[in-house]
Subunit: 301 residues, 2 copies
């Protein structure tokens, strides 16, 4: 049976978009419950400048606490944007680094002040440093399936970045559908092209459900052999300031679908659903996830 | 390019679940707007007993009005449960009859007071009468992918009913995921088995998005060659009396995804989105559809 790895990113990609800064103690409780439920990798936070994203200001502290008294098997990942982030990460015990560039020039300039080419060089240098330090590393291509600013992102642009990653020996590569534009047919084509560049690539994906295509895209990725999936508890990560209701693919909806297809039945879905309910209570609004509202299909059905 | 036919069922499968009885004049306006937007088939209502489902009591009147001054090319379909429904339908100008049985004994008994076997005989007899009258007919298997009462519905049960339909010369066959239990892998297996029974079958599908798998299931069906899709404007058809937020696959979300994949670009998505917004206003609640909230991805993207 195909291996499916779950990378929970809600506490980073979700919480960074919330107005409310969540207290560190609360985050620790949530992370420990995610570990307890049995997800494989948990993205704890992002090493951005604390003034730019105050929601992520406690990332170093979170890692220090979590690695001091480590429970469970989950790998703790952190997003870094540059060498400075890596330095911080090395001091507090990050186990896996996630770094990325945007395939859209406009998105890249807005996010980093650098062109895609410059950003790719910087990210590859940082990724190599992290690997030298003996750490697990995942590199990503953001806006890989389309961009809210530029629209269509040609596959050649994405494949060009992927080739540079591969040339640098970076094999764990995630494609992120930052704008939610991806369609299943596009996913088949792009991952197929990547597997043709290097059949030993450890492909990952990060899909959004902005337009309802999240699980369809995941299924297309599964069919083509992608093993690593990033998703977000309760579907956190929709922008609460706009009318866009749905954010990242919702972890518990995804696990529910997976378990219906007999994958990853050892993950405790009910614990994830309880946690999603708690998020809805904490933020006092309806979350994009569906299964926490409907309840799961009973196991014997 | 694969042919994809859109059968809009919101005014039947959606409105029959609403507390509020919608005035006939309002329904006519909505149906005319659906015709204008370019969907292929519109399910106008259901020929049930008006006391049982008062929301559908004006079905005869709707057909009479719509066929009197017919505009557009859309085929007008109606759900009939028995010979009595067919008689009513023949008087008011139904263009396509939809009839079905449930593959779940419990669901069948609750719905019709008959076993699946008895119900199948009745439905086949009625369907044959409709065909003799020169009408288009679609027969369905409800609870084809699982049942809220019984749980797992063995594929053999579904295929047994399909075989009886085929033996009776009924080739337009829809599988309905009444409970929302279907998964893409199951869809591949079941439709594959049906195409093996008769490769010339005109397969259709009716999926719900209860647990978020709606578009994933549709994509699986597209890949295996299914041409006929039933969906519901704004995602109408979730039960507004329970916490289950999502109902039928949402038409405009589906069309949006299709058009991103270059299918059916002649359908006017913006008109469908406007209509979905109107439903949210009319029922004064948020609808399950996502695209009417987020707005579509601009055409040039």
């Amino acid at each position: 049976m195909q291996k499916i790895v779950i990378h929970e990113v809600g506490l980073r990609d979700g919480l960074q978009m919330e107005k409310q800064v969540v207290p560190t103690e609360q985050k620790l409780k949530w992370i420990n419950r995610l570990i307890d439920a049995g997800v494989d990798i948990i993205q704890v936070g992002s090493f951005v400048h604390p003034e730019k994203v105050p929601q992520m200001a406690d990332t170093d502290k979170l890692f220090a606490e979590l690695t001091k008294n480590k429970t469970g098997k989950a790998i703790l990942s952190g997003l870094v944007l540059n060498e400075k982030g890596l330095e911080r990460g090395e001091k507090c015990g990050v186990e896996m680094y996630c770094l990325g560039v945007s395939a859209s020039e406009t998105h890249s300039m807005k996010n980093t002040g650098m062109s895609t080419t410059e950003a790719t060089e910087r990210i590859i240098a940082t990724a190599k440093q992290a690997i030298s330090a003996g750490k697990k590393v995942q590199v990503s291509v953001q806006s890989a399936f389309g961009c809210g600013f530029e629209g269509v992102v040609p596959h050649e642009r994405v494949l060009g970045i992927v080739q540079k990653y591969l040339d640098a020996g970076l094999k764990n590569i995630s494609l992120a559908d930052t704008a939610g534009h991806a369609t299943p047919d596009q996913i088949e084509k792009l991952y197929d092209a990547i597997y043709k560049l290097d059949s030993s690539v450890e492909a990952a994906c990060h899909f959004h459900n902005t337009y309802g295509m999240g699980l369809a895209n995941i299924y297309a990725a599964m069919k083509i052999g992608v093993q690593n999936y990033e998703s977000s508890i309760a579907g956190l990560g929709g922008c609460p300031f706009t009318k866009v209701a749905a954010g990242n693919v919702c972890t518990e909806d995804f696990i529910h679908a997976l378990q219906r297809m007999r994958f990853r039945k050892e993950i405790n879905l009910l614990k994830l659903i309880d946690l999603a309910k708690e998020f809805a209570g904490f933020f006092n609004r309806e979350m994009p996830g569906l299964v926490y509202k409907s309840g799961p299909i009973p196991m014997n059905q």
